[in-house]
């Protein structure tokens, strides 16, 4: 049945910079099941990208420091593997796609060579096999005339096509997990729709698990099965997608949803904005980071960070207050 393909426990990551220490990720735990699609949602600085980069050990150490945590992939703790072993996993079993394909693709190498590199390094295929496979991959991601386009350089592709090429590279070795870090944020909305549809199709075809990192709650509603909401380096809520939107249990999630304008509804009065701004990550977290902006905050919120309370199967929220009543638990 549902196997846990990835399990993260109590991950904490910090950055040491001239101005001090940035507390980027402050003890998060979550899991991913085989073939599942989860979304990690949050605004800039919440730690969603840093979490993934920490797990794949792509952060430069120093200035980064992973002070605690385990990342169990099929039972093996990724933090205990050697760099060699990690290289076997990255790109082959866990693949990542980034936001800006222009900077994640090497501008002086053809697409064919870049896809080929992955195939060569991980699967050890010969030239002819690589060529055929690369054509197949470009075709699979919907790039017309793939045989010729293999010889093109990244700048000769449009934004949407570059992202498709990146996805092709990521999928070359049939990974079990695809991590997509804001893959459509820089794209036009019609292209975004194409990419979302592409990833959903490929996910089915290849039975992959997908972790989709984004700030866009609209995209999350389209393609996630389960959602994690992050704020200031903490996971503040986790729920199945329908439940999250219909019945959010954390004040931040509620505020975020209330602040969204809707294309499918006539205008309400003013948007319900969230006052203030996200906290300064240079200060070690004390208490709930959302307290200064929260309508329901009370004394305890300022002193102690609430743990993630289990509110149901696949349902957690880190809040001292029961949002359905407005009173502390």
């Amino acid at each position: 049945m549902a196997d846990r393909i990835l399990e993260v426990k109590d991950l904490r990551t910090r950055f040491h910079i001239a101005e001090g220490t940035v507390y980027a990720v402050n003890g998060i735990s979550f899991h991913l099941e085989d073939g599942e699609t989860i979304a990690i949602v949050g605004e800039s600085g919440c730690g969603k990208s840093v979490t993934m980069l920490s797990i794949l050990r792509l952060l430069p150490i120093p200035p980064a420091e992973i002070t605690s945590g385990q990342a169990l992939y099929l039972g093996r703790d990724l933090f205990r593997l050697s760099e060699r072993e990690m290289e076997q996993i990255r790109g082959k079993e866990i693949a990542m796609v980034f936001q800006d394909p222009m900077t994640s693709l090497n501008p002086v190498l053809t697409i064919g060579r870049q896809i080929g590199e992955t195939l060569r390094v991980h699967l050890g295929l010969d030239k002819e096999a690589i060529h055929q496979r690369a054509i197949g991959l470009l075709d699979q991601v919907g790039i017309p005339d793939p045989a010729h386009r293999l010889n093109d350089y990244p700048h000769q592709f449009s934004g949407g096509q570059r992202q498709r090429a990146m996805i092709a590279m990521a999928l070359a070795c049939l990974p079990s997990i695809l991590i997509a870090d804001e893959p459509t944020t820089a794209l036009d909305v019609t292209i975004q729709a194409q990419i979302v549809e592409l990833i959903q199709r490929l996910k089915e075809q290849l039975s992959m698990a997908v972790i989709w990192i984004t700030h866009d709650l609209g995209v999350v509603a389209e393609m996630a099965e389960r959602v994690l909401v992050m704020y200031a380096g903490f996971i503040v809520e986790e729920a199945r997608v329908d439940e999250l939107y219909e019945d959010p249990r954390h004040p931040y999630t509620m505020a975020l949803l209330a602040a969204l304008p809707r294309i499918d509804r006539r205008r309400d009065k003013h948007l319900r904005s969230i006052p203030g701004a996200p906290p300064n990550l240079l200060v070690a977290p004390k208490g709930c980071p959302f307290a200064p902006r929260c309508e329901l905050a009370f004394d305890r919120c300022w002193d102690e960070m609430p743990p993630l309370f289990q509110l149901g199967p696949d349902r957690r929220a880190a809040c001292w207050v029961d949002v359905t009543t407005g009173k502390p638990f």
Binding site: A18, K269, R272, S273, L282, E295, A297, D299, C301, W302
Partner: protein, 320 residues
């Protein structure tokens, strides 16, 4: 009940408390200084440079110019002694005094040539970068033409033809050969293209920022945009380039003076002191050692300083 101090989240303008800026006010200058401070070589370079400048200009208080030019044929080619700590040269002049006054000239040439280069280079680069189009093309072709001129050749030719005809110059209480001016102008006039290209590149890039467009939308006149908006944001590579060109000018002067075609004696420069040392490399090491050491230290210090400045000045700096 805790007072959250945040206004009720309904419509309206959400307040911003003054203390919501967690960092204390730090101008870009202060941030730059902080970064500079951490660059050990740059600090070393700055201190050394300061000492050298003190030596060359402060030394005026200890030795008079006359002393540096005083010929004492009886005491020629003496190794360092208490009386002449750096020894004496081929006609008995005290080397220590000469390095002091020579240093003044060498440094002066470095700074002034840099100024000439700065004025021309920044003007040409700014105009070409800001206005673009045909003006840019024209200026850049002109710049490239100047680059084609072989600097050394020009210097040699100028030295030969103008050496005699330029009168001595009085400046800062000193009298020195007019050839100093020739050298300054030739160096300045042949090195400005490098700076012009850098400035132009900076202008081209800074010009694309929205705040320039905003200034135009406001109605700010063009010259104000160039001087108040773009120039302050282009200062970084200009400072670095200017610093390094001082070193380059000093080196260049040493080079041609060594060839005998630079500053004419009796005016001393570190470079022409080396010229005199050519035939005595092994027998009278003190002739080349001290001026050579000073040149090397100065150029090295300037380079370290330039390195530190380059690292410290980051036009995209942001707090945290």
């Amino acid at each position: 009940m805790v007072d959250t101090t945040a206004p009720h989240p309904t419509s309206g303008i959400a307040g911003l408390r003054p203390d919501e800026l967690e960092t204390p006010p730090l101008s870009l200058g202060q941030l730059t200084w902080r970064r500079f401070r951490q660059h050990k070589m740059a600090i070393f370079g700055s201190i050394t440079l300061l000492l050298i400048i003190l030596y060359a200009f402060g030394g005026m208080l200890v030795f008079s110019e006359a002393e540096s030019n005083a010929v004492e044929t009886g005491a020629r080619l003496q190794a360092p002694t208490r009386q002449h700590p750096f020894g004496t040269d081929t006609i008995g002049r005290d080397i220590l005094a000469r390095t002091i006054y020579g240093g003044q000239i060498s440094i002066l040439i470095g700074l002034t040539a840099m100024l000439v280069e700065l004025i021309i280079g920044v003007t040409v680069g700014a105009v070409a970068g800001y206005f673009g189009g045909k003006l840019d093309s024209l200026l850049m072709r002109f710049t490239e033409a100047v680059l084609v001129i072989p600097q050394i050749f020009l210097l040699l030719v100028m030295a030969k033809y103008f050496a005699q005809s330029i009168p001595n110059v009085r400046f800062l209480g000193r009298t020195f050969s007019g050839s100093v001016l020739v050298i300054i102008f030739v160096i300045g006039l042949t090195t400005w293209p490098y700076l012009a290209r850098i400035v132009r590149a900076q202008f081209l890039s800074v010009k694309e920022n929205d705040y320039i467009l905003a200034a135009r939308a406001v109605g700010t006149p063009t010259w104000e945009i160039i001087v108040r908006h773009i120039l302050p944001n282009s200062i970084a590579p200009i400072i670095v380039s200017a610093t390094l060109s001082v070193a380059a000018a000093i080196t260049l002067e040493a080079y041609i003076s060594f060839l005998g075609l630079g500053v004419r004696p009796p005016t001393a420069t570190w470079g022409n002191m080396l010229e005199g040392a050519y035939n005595y490399v092994e027998s009278a090491w003190w002739l080349w050692f001290f001026p050579g050491l000073l040149i090397a230290l100065t150029v090295l210090s300037i380079n370290f300083l330039g390195d530190g400045l380059r690292d410290a000045i980051d036009p995209h700096s942001r707090a945290v």
